[in-house]
C-alpha cells in the first residue's frame, strides 16, 4: 500500500510522457527553447509550432517576484512569532496562517482580480514613476494591468504560509544553549537573532523558499485570473504581458485540437519535472537544516 505514492508518481510521469511523446519528437529541443506557440488548420492540414520558452521565462519571472516579496515577509513573520509575540498573538497568527494555507486558490484569484489588482496597478505606477530607470521596472508601453507583478503579489500571499511555517520550525530548532550564551554575553534580542538564529536557520529558510517556489510554479487558477497570458518573452515585471506554464495549459485547453492538446500534455510533463526537481532539492535542504540542530 505504501508504494502507492511511487506508483502514482510513476504513472503521472509515464502517461504525460507517453501522450506528449509525439510533440517531443516533432519539436525536439525547440519545445523548451522556442518562443512561438501556434496551431492553425488550413483545409484539414494542421500546421503548428510549439515552443514553451516564453511560458518558462514567465513562470520563473512570476515565481521569482513572488519569492522576492514573500520571503522577507515570511522570515519577519516567523521571527516575530517565535521571538517577539506574546503567547495569545502567536496562537492567533498561527491559526490565521493555517487558514491562509487552506483558502482555495480560486478565492485568491477572485480577490486578486477584483480587490488587489486596482491597488497593485497604482503601486506599479508608483514604482515605474520613481524606479523606472531600473531595466526590470521599465515598460515599453504604459500598460500595467494584469502584469507579472500583480500575479507575483498574489502568489507571494499564497506561499507565505508555507515559507513561514518552515522558517518557524527551523528557527525553533536553534539550540537553546547558544541562545542563552548570546544573552549571557549581553546581546540584545536582535543581536542574538542576528548572530545565532539567522546563521543557524538560513539553510532552512532557503529550503522553505524553494518549497514555496515549487508551489508558485504550479499555481494555475489564481495566476490565470490576474495575468494577461501571451506568448512573448517578457522580462519586464510591471508590463501587462506574461505567462505561466500551468495557466497556459488551462487557457489553451478549451479550443485545442488533438495535436495541440498533446503538446499541452507535454507541457504538463515539463512542469511536473520542474516542480519535482525543485521539491526534491527543497526537501533535501530543509531536512539537512533541521537535522543540524539535533
Amino acid at each position: 500500500m505504501s508504494f502507492s505514492s511511487l506508483a502514482i508518481l510513476t504513472l503521472i510521469g509515464s502517461f504525460l510522457m507517453l501522450r506528449g511523446f509525439q510533440t517531443f519528437q516533432s519539436e525536439g529541443l525547440h519545445f523548451i527553447t522556442g518562443f512561438e506557440w501556434t496551431s492553425t488548420v488550413n483545409d484539414g492540414v494542421e500546421t503548428s509550432t510549439f515552443g514553451l520558452g516564453s511560458m518558462l521565462i514567465g513562470t520563473l519571472l512570476i515565481s521569482g517576484t513572488a519569492l522576492v516579496i514573500g520571503v522577507p515577509l515570511s522570515v519577519l513573520t516567523a521571527l516575530y512569532l517565535n521571538f517577539y509575540a506574546p503567547m495569545q498573538i502567536r496562537k492567533f497568527m498561527v491559526t490565521i496562517l493555517d487558514l491562509m494555507a487552506a483558502f482555495p486558490s480560486i478565492l485568491y484569484g477572485l480577490w486578486g482580480y477584483f480587490i488587489l489588482m486596482p491597488m497593485a496597478e497604482y503601486w506599479a505606477k508608483l514604482l515605474y514613476k520613481y524606479l523606472g530607470w531600473i531595466p526590470a521596472f521599465s515598460v515599453p508601453q504604459p500598460a500595467f494591468t494584469r502584469s507579472p507583478f500583480v500575479a507575483g503579489l498574489v502568489l507571494a500571499i499564497m506561499i507565505i504560509p508555507i515559507i513561514t511555517s518552515v522558517s518557524r520550525e527551523v528557527f525553533s530548532q536553534t539550540p537553546l544553549d547558544r541562545i542563552q550564551a548570546a544573552y549571557a554575553l549581553g546581546a540584545t534580542k536582535w543581536k542574538m537573532i542576528k548572530t545565532v538564529v539567522l546563521p543557524f536557520g538560513s539553510g532552512g529558510v532557503v529550503g522553505g523558499a524553494m518549497l514555496g517556489l515549487g508551489r508558485a510554479m504550479g499555481e494555475t487558477v489564481a495566476v490565470y485570473m490576474v495575468l494577461n497570458i501571451a506568448f512573448s518573452a517578457n522580462l519586464k515585471v510591471l508590463y501587462g504581458v506574461g505567462g505561466n506554464v500551468a495557466s497556459m495549459i488551462v487557457s489553451r485547453w478549451g479550443e485545442s485540437t488533438l495535436l495541440e492538446s498533446k503538446a499541452l500534455l507535454a507541457a504538463g510533463f515539463v512542469l511536473f519535472m520542474m516542480t519535482l526537481a525543485v521539491n526534491f532539492l527543497a526537501n533535501f535542504i530543509v531536512k539537512r537544516a533541521i537535522k543540524s540542530g539535533k
Binding site: 500500500m1 505514492s5 515570511s74 483558502f103 477584483f114 521539491n279
Partner: protein, 345 residues
C-alpha cells in the same frame, strides 16, 4: 505589619506608556501634515509616512534613554511586527470582501435549485447551486474513500513498521505533495479520457483530488502517530501482542482523533481545488446523483464558470458560491482545530 507588593521592574511604567502614546500621537500628526503639504496622497501615503515617523520617534526615544544598541533592537522588533501585520492584512481583506460581496447573492432557492432552467445571466433570484453542492459532496466522499486508506496505511508503515523502504517512501510522499494540481488533472485526462469512450464524470473528477489529498493526510497522520508515547507500544508487546495487533488495538485507537484531524485537513485542502476539475469533471448544470455516469459539477467549477462569463450577474453568482465554499472549508477547518485541541489535552 506591612506587606510588600512585588515590583516588576521589567514592565512598562505609566510614564513609559504615556511616552509611547505621545510618540504615536506625534507620528499621527506628522503623517497628516506631511501628506497635506507634499504631493503624496492616498491611503498608502498615510500608512507609509505614519509607519516611518512612528518608527523614527520610537527608535529616537530609545536611543536617548537607553543607547544605540537598544535603538537598533527596537527598530528590528518594530520591523518584524510590521512584517506580520502586512501578512495579516490580506486575510482580513479576503474574508471581508468575500462576506460582503457574497451575502448580496444569497436567496432562498439557492440551496434547493440548480442551474438547469436558468442561465448565469438571469437575475440573481433565479437558479441555485444545489448541483454544485451535490457535486462537491461527491468529490469529497469519493476522494476520501480512495485516499484515506492509502494515506493511513502509508503513515503506519512509515512510523510503526519503519521498514527498509521507509526513507525512500518518505521522500516520495514529500515529492507527491509538490505535484501541481493542474498536473494531477491532466494526468487523469491523459490516462482515462483522451482517446477513450469515457467522458468526464464525478469519479474522474474525484481521482485527481485523491492524488492531491494523499500527501496531506499521510504527513499529518504521521505527525499524530509520532506523538503516541512509546510506552503504549512497549506495553502492548510486553503483553504478548504481535506488532500488527499492537498497532490495530492500541496505537490506532489512541491516535483516533488525530487521524480524524488528518482526514479533515485533507478534505479542506481539496474542497476548493479548481484546476484539475476543469479537465475531468465534465461540467453540468443539472443535479447529477450518479457519480459514475454523466457530467458532474462542483462549487469551484461553478465559481470558475461564472467568472469566465464575466457579466455582473455571473460574477455575483461566483462571489456567492465562493462564500458557500469558504464556509464549507472553514467548517472543516474548525472541526480539525477542535479535534487537534482535544488531542493536546
Amino acid at each position: 505589619m506591612t506587606t510588600y507588593a512585588p515590583t516588576k521592574p521589567w514592565q512598562p511604567t505609566k510614564v513609559d506608556i504615556g511616552k509611547n502614546v505621545l510618540g504615536l500621537l506625534i507620528a499621527l500628526v506628522v503623517s497628516f501634515v506631511v501628506v497635506q503639504l507634499t504631493p503624496m496622497k492616498g491611503k498608502l501615503a498615510y500608512a507609509g509616512v505614519l509607519f516611518i515617523s512612528a518608527t523614527v520617534i520610537q527608535v529616537g526615544m530609545k536611543w536617548i534613554s537607553r543607547g544605540r544598541m537598544a535603538a537598533i533592537d527596537g527598530l528590528a522588533s518594530s520591523i518584524a511586527f510590521t512584517g506580520s501585520v502586512i501578512v495579516f492584512l490580506p486575510v482580513v481583506s479576503i474574508l471581508y470582501t468575500t462576506i460582503s460581496k457574497g451575502v448580496k447573492g444569497l436567496h432562498w432557492t439557492l440551496f434547493t435549485d440548480s442551474m438547469e432552467n436558468s442561465s448565469y445571466l438571469d437575475p440573481i433570484g433565479m437558479g441555485g447551486i444545489l448541483h454544485a453542492i451535490v457535486g462537491t459532496m461527491y468529490m469529497i466522499i469519493i476522494a476520501s474513500v480512495i485516499s484515506v486508506p492509502l494515506s493511513i496505511l502509508t503513515a503506519l508503515y512509515l512510523t510503526e513498521i519503519k521498514g527498509k523502504a521507509a526513507g525512500f517512501i518518505q521522500f516520495l510522499v514529500q515529492a507527491m505533495s509538490g505535484v501541481p494540481s493542474v498536473v494531477a488533472g491532466i494526468f487523469i485526462y491523459a490516462a482515462l479520457l483522451l482517446n477513450t469512450s469515457f467522458r468526464g464524470s464525478g469519479i474522474t473528477g474525484a481521482l485527481p483530488l485523491a492524488i492531491l489529498m494523499i500527501p496531506t493526510v499521510t504527513r499529518t497522520a504521521q505527525e499524530v502517530l509520532l506523538l503516541i508515547p512509546n510506552d503504549l507500544r512497549e506495553a502492548g508487546q510486553a503483553l504478548g501482542a504481535t506488532q500488527w495487533k499492537t498497532v490495530i488495538t492500541i496505537v490506532v485507537p489512541a491516535a483516533r482523533s488525530g487521524l480524524v484531524t488528518a482526514v479533515i485537513l485533507g478534505v479542506a485542502r481539496i474542497a476548493g481545488e479548481t484546476a484539475p476539475l476543469l479537465f475531468t469533471i465534465g461540467g453540468s448544470d443539472k443535479v447529477n446523483w450518479n457519480p459514475f455516469n454523466g457530467p458532474q459539477s462542483a462549487l469551484p467549477y461553478y465559481v470558475w464558470k461564472g467568472l469566465i462569463s464575466g457579466t455582473p450577474e455571473a460574477v455575483q453568482r461566483s462571489w456567492t458560491a465562493i462564500l458557500v465554499l469558504l464556509m464549507i472549508v472553514l467548517f472543516f477547518f474548525s472541526i480539525a482545530r477542535y479535534f487537534s485541541r482535544q488531542r493536546m489535552k
